[in-house]
Symmetry: C3
Subunit: 360 residues, 3 copies
């Protein structure tokens, strides 16, 4: 796709590293160590991955300072303080970063006359922008983004193909919303009649994303009963996450894929929520709470702290319990043995007494 | 977004409540108690939330009859029998409820000439309506709805942006289908060859939603092998739910987010299925079954009843088991102690016998 | 929808079966046994479902060789070696299989001039095909498919409505991608600053699907840091599955709905992963590994083998542990009893000794 190539010496200079081996070798791409082909550069994140070194077909490898190794013929190493960071720093050299067509209004985009679109914003093919929407500078709407009425998208935010924002959604600055995300659908709230029928509770609130929020593909965030479902500044959600109505997520929190957060939950700052975790409604977490993958959180968690299990409890306690459960089958045997030995002893004592009384 | 405002006295009259404090204060919006700002009205659902009262910035609060409290200056209470219901009843006063443009056929909508669209139905921008589809009165298709061939959408149903209906899908009356829902994709059925290859089993059935069904954002319902995957009247499914081929869900059942229901399952009436529950294939549930969040249902459940766990069992039994597991680490200590004490006693008895024999 | 009908004799001849009862009855549709109506044909997969036979309203039933039964009046059986296979073989007779409009370029489809579209490929309404994309023969793009730049779709693949492919996605031949699938969104990778802020790690890799891969509705596959996230030939993923960055799935593996596979996992050949399973990052599975639904896999699994649990362990071990946990509440009672009996025995021995010493 792109024809750029660089010598090992050029790349070493770019990342401030030291060359081992042939500095004039030519590099035209990046890859992970298992998959790298000749002509590509890769990296060893940590000395414990040194075992991959003899097998890689990469022409150049970024290595950490501690690693003692000598490149094969036709291969070079670049020694740097942090090979992973250096690898990422090299990415822009290899990936074409075309300037987006700032100011584009694709002729097929339908923009309501009452909407305000900043001059540099990009509105791609087949976007639908509803009444009174506000789209700030350097926003990119990819094809088929649908903004219902009164939606605001802050400066520099990117909405990928097919994102849907229900009325009154507010997206902050520099947010990144992946394809298929749905913001602001009705909260799942019903009254139950005596006959068990479900009567809909209307939701007049909205969804607010603060600045620098990232949402993964096909994630859904429901709007609030009143007020806002809110995701705090710098928080990142992975794919297929469900955030229910009235939830508040504080800043710099990371939520892995397929997590489900029930209504009115409040998460603290810098939480780290593992994949497929579920949380019941109306609970809170403190700051710096870590919940391990697959947990089911049934009550509020204080922070800082690390939690695991269904129901979630302190991590060390969950591990101890898990270890105990693993011993259970042996425990059963042990208890049957105890029971037998106790019975034997009881009989023995009875026999002893009997003998004694006879002699007595 | 809208400029309507009302006095506390007007709102109290509307909900049949009694004013405490200044009846002439002006209210222009609704919010939840933690977030309400001056000029807004909120509510206290139950007397146990009275602790929020001193902290709210709301100008007006709907309170339950039992609550004894006096409004601050610049604040008013409205006492009503059911504050939550009253709050919801007030919503239409504050949210503009524009009459939809009945009869709209957006010029970009592609409607197959063989389709039948009722005069009052709305077909928004970029909808694609396939051959022989039938769209009844007051249906609203939001932008980018795709109906493949032979789809029927009943009177008054609303399909949000990007909903996709595969061929022969039938949607009843007054259904509400949120953005990103996919109805009628192929059931996940394969034959396995001796070499472990997967050979596709075609699915010629369809999906049928009865009247007043609601489906949350990005939920998927697969079509049946033959006949119909069916969701019963008045049932409500939350976001990101998976309903497999051949499933039948009876009426007035509620299913929370991220639940997965495997092939050929049959759910009874008025079931309440918690978030992230999974069900294996080919099982049934009775009427009025409750399954708690995160459960894994591996066999049929009789109703009425409440179930929990992986695998799901009667709720009281699951709780008892959970409590027992929590005691396990102590139990281990207890058993080691028992073992030691038993050994000591055994030695003691041996010593006793030895002493006795010597004396005997 | 279609008017074709056949006599029982014709259908029996088609599947090589033997007619029991009236061979001249007329059949115009297929259905499952619980739902079949008069005029429809159904099947009994196995002799253990014979209990459904007296209740079905179907006019014709495919039955297995072992089943001894006599059709009612107005009903016929067709005895065949494998009724399920025979049922599926009959499907094409009843379902219209219209020839697709090979070569269609819908006038609303936006195809970049630098893209290559094979003559027989179908590009439906409102598709967006980016720069340098390659679409091979007999590919079908349903409405609203979005291909970003440099996407390749192999011969005979079908992309349903609303599928989104990020740049550089490669789809093999004869793949089937259901509606709402997102391929190639950013991997969920961040650096954490000392203050707990999350700094984005760019991902310059892509997603590669080999031939005959099938992906269910709203499934998401993220692109790799560098190199490719790869799904092997003939593998099938159900709805709402999450495949993270850098994952490699080998050939002929089946993954049920709502499974989540974390970053850099490598799955072997012919794995069978049950619904809602989660896997932590950087682990591997061998060939022919089966993971039961709901499991949480926290370390690598060797194959062939069957695993279950949170954390996943050998299936037999997990079952033994589960059985032990179910006995726990009784175990608690048992231990209390042991404790009491031991205390009683200890007291009894003390009393015995006391008596003996008095007599001694």
């Amino acid at each position: 796709m792109d024809e750029r190539s660089y010598t090992v010496a050029e790349l070493a200079r770019y990342v401030g590293g030291e060359v081992l081996g042939e500095a004039t070798l030519c590099i035209s791409g990046l890859n992970r160590i298992e998959y790298a082909a000749p002509g590509e550069l890769t990296f060893i994140h940590h000395i414990r991955y040194a075992r991959f070194l003899p097998h890689t077909r990469a022409t150049c490898i970024l290595i950490p300072p501690q690693l003692e190794a000598v490149p094969r013929e036709g291969q070079a190493f670049i020694r740097v303080a942090d090979p992973y960071r250096a690898f990422v720093a090299l990415m822009p050299l290899f990936v074409p970063n075309n300037e987006p067509p700032w100011g584009l209004r694709h002729p097929t985009a339908l923009i309501d006359p009452s909407a305000t679109v900043a001059p540099t914003a990009i509105v791609n093919a087949y976007c639908v922008v509803g009444a009174r929407c506000v789209i700030e500078d350097r926003v990119i709407l990819h094809p088929f983004v649908v903004l219902y009425e009164d939606v605001t998208v802050g400066e520099g935010s990117i909405l990928h193909a097919g994102v849907v924002c229900y009325p009154r959604t507010v997206i902050g600055k520099r947010c990144l919303i992946h394809a298929g995300v749905v913001l602001g659908a009705d909260g799942f709230g019903f009254w139950e009649s005596h006959a068990g029928q479900l009567e809909k509770i209307p939701h007049v609130g909205n969804v607010v994303l603060e600045d620098e929020v990232e949402l993964g593909a096909n994630t859904t965030v429901d709007r609030s009963l009143a007020g806002s479902t809110r995701i705090g500044r710098g928080s990142k959600l992975d794919n297929l996450v469900h955030v229910a109505h009235n939830v508040t997520i504080d800043e710099h929190t990371a939520i892995a894929a397929q997590v489900g957060i029930s209504g009115s939950v409040r998460l603290g700052k810098r939480n780290r929520i593992g994949g497929q975790v579920g949380m019941v409604g109306h609970i809170t977490t403190g700051d710096d709470v870590i919940v391990e993958a697959k947990s089911g959180v049934s009550k509020s968690l204080s922070g800082p702290g690390r939690y695991f299990g269904i129901p979630a409890q302190e991590h060390y306690r969950a591990l101890r319990q898990e270890a105990a459960v693993r011993q259970l089958p042996e425990l059963l045997r042990e208890i049957h043995q105890l029971r037998r030995q106790l019975d034997e002893l009881r009989q023995y004592v009875a026999l002893l007494e009997h003998t004694w009384r006879q002699h007595g």
